[in-house]
């Protein structure tokens, strides 16, 4: 699974030790990086934030919670994923219970075009989400090289 992730996640789109005040700030920061590379449209960040407000993507995992914000394919140019680990958790709504807020430490911002072509990426991320000890090590990673080393080690 991690070999897949290493192939699918552009190291330039991994950000560690991000300080953000809230969920929107993280989405805007990561989405801005995707937009800089023309992977998403100008409307993407706003669409993700709107969707997150309506149908949040926080996943309750126990110690380290993860959010997977995304939006409709019309705002995406090329499939991509951006990853951020946060110095201090920010609150995202719980996917299953939107009124409940979860402290989120790792954000995978997904830019998805066609579901059938991104099954591999989605399954790799699902595998990662289910690996609690790896998530914990990711939050302690100092830089993107550390993250890449963790993904390689877990392979």
């Amino acid at each position: 699974m991690s070999n897949t992730l290493m192939r699918l996640i552009d190291p330039q789109m991994i950000f560690t030790g991000i300080e953000a005040g809230d969920a929107n700030e993280v989405i805007a920061l990561l989405g801005g990086k995707l937009a800089e590379q023309d992977l998403v449209t100008e409307s993407y960040v706003e669409a993700v934030i709107a969707r997150e407000t309506d149908m949040p993507t926080g996943l309750p995992l126990g110690e380290i919670n993860v959010a997977v914000p995304h939006t409709d394919p019309e705002h995406v140019v090329m499939p991509a994923v951006a990853v951020a680990t946060l110095t201090k958790p920010v609150l995202f709504g719980n996917m299953e219970d939107p009124d409940e807020k979860l402290p989120i430490s790792i954000v995978f911002l997904l830019a998805l075009k066609e579901k059938d072509k991104q099954v591999e990426m989605l399954q790799a991320i699902a595998g990662l989400i289910q690996n609690g000890s790896l998530l914990e090590e990711m939050t302690a990673a100092a830089d993107k090289e550390d993250i890449l080393a963790l993904l390689a080690k877990a392979a």
Binding site: R51, D54, M55, T57, L59, P60, L61, G62, V68, H70, T71, D72, P73, M95, E96, D97, P98, L110, L112, E114, K115, Q118, V119, L122, Q123, A126, I129, Q130
Partner: protein, 95 residues
């Protein structure tokens, strides 16, 4: 056994429901239950529910659909996945 239609819903019908749909398809194949999976947005569930045998959703859906609804989040988080699969199997065998 007749092929059962499972409606798998999430917010956008591209991300989380894809993972859930694959997991259910694989698991039911192993159990010998023929299923046809249809992915949709949570907002489309009320109009598609009449043609489904079972609904699995990662986000809240109305509870007056007349069809069994099972939470799909365990297929993303791994927490409670076996129990969710048992619920799905029981619902499909009963239907």
């Amino acid at each position: 056994m007749k092929t059962k239609v499972v409606l798998v819903a999430c917010g956008t019908a591209v991300a989380t429901s894809t993972v859930v749909a694959m997991a259910i398809e694989d698991a039911m194949k192993e159990k010998g239950i023929p299923v046809a999976i249809r992915q949709c947005k949570a907002t489309e569930v009320p109009s598609l529910a009449p043609d489904a045998d079972l609904i699995v959703s990662t986000t809240p859906v109305p509870d007056n659909l007349g069809k069994p609804v099972i939470k799909g989040l365990p297929f993303l988080t791994g927490i409670g996945k076996d129990a969710a699969l048992d619920q799905i199997e029981a619902a499909l065998r009963a239907g």
